[in-house]
Each structure stands twice: as structure tokens, then as C-alpha cells.
Symmetry: C2
Subunit: 142 residues, 2 copies
């Protein structure tokens, strides 16, 4: 996980002529704090108590901005949910096919094989997404 400090974030924004607003900072911190790959709605609800005037539109546009800057990854799922992951490195998303909950799984072998594939294909990768669907312990009990 790439944890970017407020200073680094400010520098990235400045470089692109963008403003680091209270809302943008709050959204980024929420993304880092939550480990569950929240949806736009999740983030909005997380923030509405501390920032009563924040709008859903702002959360949408901010997440798009973060995606375009390469700070986060957007994960669209079959259940219609769009979830956001601040981890843009090669890793596996362990996704419960019932409740949709996601946990990250890091594995060295995966990274090695990924490098092999990239050199085999002779391509310049722009990103990746590796999902493993299963039924989580909580859903198994229900």
C-alpha cells in the first residue's frame, strides 16, 4: 500500500494545478483509514457527520480525480457496486461473492509471475486487477 502524506499529496496536486481542498483531503484519508474498499456512498456516509454540507457529487468527482491521478483504483463489480482501492500495486482482492466484502492479499509468487508475463508479452502495463471470489467466513455461518 502506498501511503501518501498530506505534503506529498499537496505537491502532486500543485504539479497539476489542482487545489487540495478540505473535502479532497478528508476523502483521501477516509480511503486510507477504511480497509474495506468502500463505495462512493460508503465514503459519503462516513463523512456526512464531520462534514455536514459535503455533497455526493463532490465525492463522485473527487474519486474520479484520484483515479485519473493514479492514486486509487476503481473496481466495478457485478452487483453494481463500484469500490475504491488505495492499493494500486500488484495484489489479490479476496472478494466474498455473497456480501461483497474485500480483503487484500499480498503474495510474492504472484508478483514474480506477473513480471514474467509482462516480459513474455513485451507490453508496458498500465495497471492490473486480480480478484479471487469465495465465500467469506461470516457468510458461511449465516
Amino acid at each position: 500500500m502506498i501511503k501518501i502524506s498530506t505534503e506529498e499529496l499537496a505537491s502532486i496536486f500543485k504539479k497539476h494545478g489542482l487545489k487540495l481542498t478540505t473535502q479532497r483531503l478528508a476523502i483521501y484519508e477516509t480511503l486510507l483509514k477504511r480497509k474495506d474498499h468502500p463505495t462512493t456512498e460508503n465514503i459519503y456516509k462516513s463523512l456526512i457527520n464531520d462534514y455536514p454540507t459535503i455533497s455526493l457529487g463532490t465525492v463522485y468527482s473527487t474519486l474520479h480525480l484520484f483515479k485519473d491521478l493514479g492514486l486509487i483504483q476503481e473496481l466495478n463489480f457485478s452487483d453494481g457496486n463500484i469500490r475504491y482501492d488505495p492499493n494500486t500495486k500488484v495484489h489479490i482482492n479476496l472478494v466474498c461473492s455473497k456480501c461483497g466484502n474485500i480483503t487484500d492479499y499480498n503474495n510474492e509468487k504472484v508478483k514474480e509471475v506477473w513480471q514474467l508475463i509482462i516480459s513474455d508479452l513485451k507490453i508496458k502495463p498500465k495497471g492490473q486487477r486480480i480478484d479471487l471470489y469465495y465465500e467469506c467466513e461470516k457468510c458461511k455461518r449465516d
Copy 2:
């Protein structure tokens, strides 16, 4: 790729008390014929000439049905497109991040590592999705 014959398809449908209609057969054959992981709209447009009365609603419900039967995989992307893949086995989707075009890539090492991960995690996999984003040759030229 699992290529299911009309007879096998009929048997699967019968087992579930479902009818194998002309439309369902045509949609399944279109999915197999096209190698580009078409969207709902793509499939609809592919069929409208040969089946002038087919409706978009039918294509939607049929694709959902196929997904529920495990015959195909639904791939939701950041650009808002939902694409369908009749290959449900472990493979890599090479996705162009510009035009969205997808080609399948089969690699033995990936399958081996996938097996390792599954035994490591001690889970029963329900499916997977492995995307590699890059810029395709066609988009590079433009």
C-alpha cells in the same frame, strides 16, 4: 474455453426447468462466435438483423440467466461497460485501457500459482478475474 453444444445446453436448461428458446440459443452462439467479450448492446446489435423483433430486455435477462448458471462471466469496467466472457476458467484478460478491447491470454504458470494460492488460503474458490491493462497496438498508432 468451455464450448458447450446445443444438446448440453438443452440438458442444463431442462435440469433447471428452463426453456431453451430461439433467442437464448442465438445469444449464446453470438457469445461464443465473438472473441471480443461483447457488451449487452453489442450482442443486441449483432442479433437485430437476423432476429428483428428481439428486445434489449431479453438480451439483458438472458445474460443474467447465463451468469447465474455459471456459463459466462460478467466483467464490469471503469468506463461503465459491462462485458461478457464465455471463458470461466483461470485466464488473463488483456484489456486495452484506451479502447477497452479485450483478448484472452492463457498461461500455465498463472494456473499453477493460482492453485498454490488457493491451497495456501484454504478456501473454496467460486471464480476469479485477472485483468492486465495496457495500450493495444491499434491505440498506440492513433
